[in-house]
Symmetry: C2
């Protein structure tokens, strides 16, 4: 089984590659474990050690020949994670459309050209929800994005659905909660602070939080996110039926909860490094994203989330081998 | 006020042009009646008399320079009706994507290039719904199209929403019920028979009905459809808020109801000209479309539908001056 991971040089994508490499096989369309013969990472940049472990194809999603070469006509499994993040897509509308919408469509069209339609997992986001929302989002809540990133994601969800219905791919979309705690540096994602306010203080560095303590988030740890992507892939096509998208389980946490948890785990010195300095534009977008979900369908299909906000922080500390 | 109607040579588009021409003005963004100075029709073909009454621009939606010329950089009102119909988009996937998705996006991008963002009414369809559906569709039901036409329409709904949020256009989408009774010839729309089984018998011609008597439809007369398009245009932007799409009111009628109504109005000779000969592919698609709606939001915003199935038939007879 040949696997392609778009965004494979990014944090989640590379972690997925490592997990798949350790795991060594994936359940295929026949329901059997099939050995992974090759993992190709497609991205604009890669971790230094990536080249020694995986086939790295450099390019961006708008580079059709590059995507075509990475796919190679014989890919069995696609994990499509690459995208311009929320803040970037909002700041540069054309770039977001080109990469997130046209890039995804280009990838789907190349998959369709293959003799054997690949199984494809697409990562969408809770950013598809917005506007007037119910107290709790459930499987019946209609997406109504209030950002271009969310609009592009929801269009791609429908494309993945229709390409699957036509038999061009065997697609499935999971809407990821905000991933926390991400290691590394802040990025352009509007939700970048949701990792920063934990990660930076644990490294003894001050962190600016652009939203108030009451702002609530729907969160998932990187480890659970990777588990969910693999599970989404391994579910039989029949489990998805005519609805090829679902909201992943997660944990609801207010910014204040996260800071308090950090204080309990790592003490005042760490927690006091978080400074709340509200950025109205970011706060408005974050508040337009929902933070409370009932994910019955996903739970029934066997997806799981972290226990609570504290476990997100403890998981990060353990992953990174940080001493507190 | 300069008006562009894409699909303006088609049945609904041309009827809209005639209505606007008679009406002479439209409510503008300031809430004032503004005289219509020019009506431009963009389409691949036009009724013979169209050229004498309107500016006719020939082309299809994929012809960007043609669309650009028709828009002319100074259009205040766009009614975007042009599309490859449901059966056509299902039979030729690439054509549907090119015209319905790329063509609409191209139009939106050209609108965005204008110094003054136009107000735009986009016609979507009940074909966005499908899969496992509730007994009655309401304003909260999530689209889940089971045809490429519906998938393309729903993507465009989200684009119209996001372009509006960004201030590139002032867009609003209405999901049209199946229009019945359309005059003229059958077309490639899967629902073409919903007009044919009335229109043909009234002209003394046999009509094949590809679905059973129990198959129910969600219908709207051409007259009410035009009224709805104008009303959608004239509503203030604030009435749409963050949700730029709604389901139009209509009438639920089973095929058997339509035939029985025809029998009551035009006698056995007409009704007996309808022959049910089931086409499983068409019936499957039609049965995947919902036929019962609660359109509270539209009713509250002042949209109205026909009274019942009989009034659809009587309206057609009156429009066409048919003697029964």
């Amino acid at each position: 089984m040949k696997v392609l991971i778009t965004g494979g040089g990014g944090f989640l994508g590379y972690r997925l590659a490592q997990t798949l490499s350790r795991k060594g096989s994936l359940t295929n369309a026949a329901g059997l474990q099939e050995a992974i013969s090759r993992i190709v990472l497609f991205d604009m940049a890669f971790p230094a050690e990536a080249g020694a472990r995986f086939q790295c194809a450099q390019g961006d999603l708008t580079d059709r020949p590059g995507v075509e070469a990475a796919l190679g006509g014989d890919t069995d499994a696609v994990f499509h994670l690459a995208s311009v993040v929320s803040g970037g897509a909002e700041a540069d509308f054309d770039l977001g459309m080109r990469v997130n919408l046209d890039g995804t469509r280009g990838l789907l069209d190349l998959c369709r050209k293959q003799a054997r339609p690949p199984r494809l997992v697409f990562t969408s986001s809770v950013a598809v929800f917005g506007g007037e929302l119910p107290e709790v989002i459930d499987d019946g809540t209609t997406p109504n994005p209030q950002g271009s990133y969310g609009a592009q994601k929801v269009c791609c969800e429908y494309l993945v659905g229709d390409y699957s219905r036509k038999g061009f791919i065997d697609g499935r979309t999971v809407r990821l909660p905000t991933i926390s705690v991400r290691p590394g540096k802040p990025n352009l994602a509007v939700s970048s602070f949701a990792s920063g306010i934990i990660r930076e203080p644990l490294a003894g560095v001050a962190a600016i939080c652009p939203v108030g303590r009451d702002a609530a988030l729907w969160l998932l740890s990187p480890g659970k996110a990777i588990e969910s992507l693999v599970h989404a892939f391994e579910l039989p096509s029949s489990a998805w039926g005519t609805r090829r998208v679902l909201n992943l389980p997660g944990v609801t946490a207010a910014v204040g909860d996260l800071i308090d948890s950090l204080r309990r785990i790592a003490g005042d010195r760490a927690a006091d490094l978080v400074q709340i300095r509200i950025d109205p534009a970011i706060e408005a977008l974050i508040l337009s994203w929902p933070a409370r979900f009932a994910t019955d369908r996903a739970l029934k299909l066997g997806f799981t989330a972290d226990e609570d906000a504290e476990s997100l922080i403890r998981g990060y500390i353990e992953d990174q081998g940080i001493e507190v």
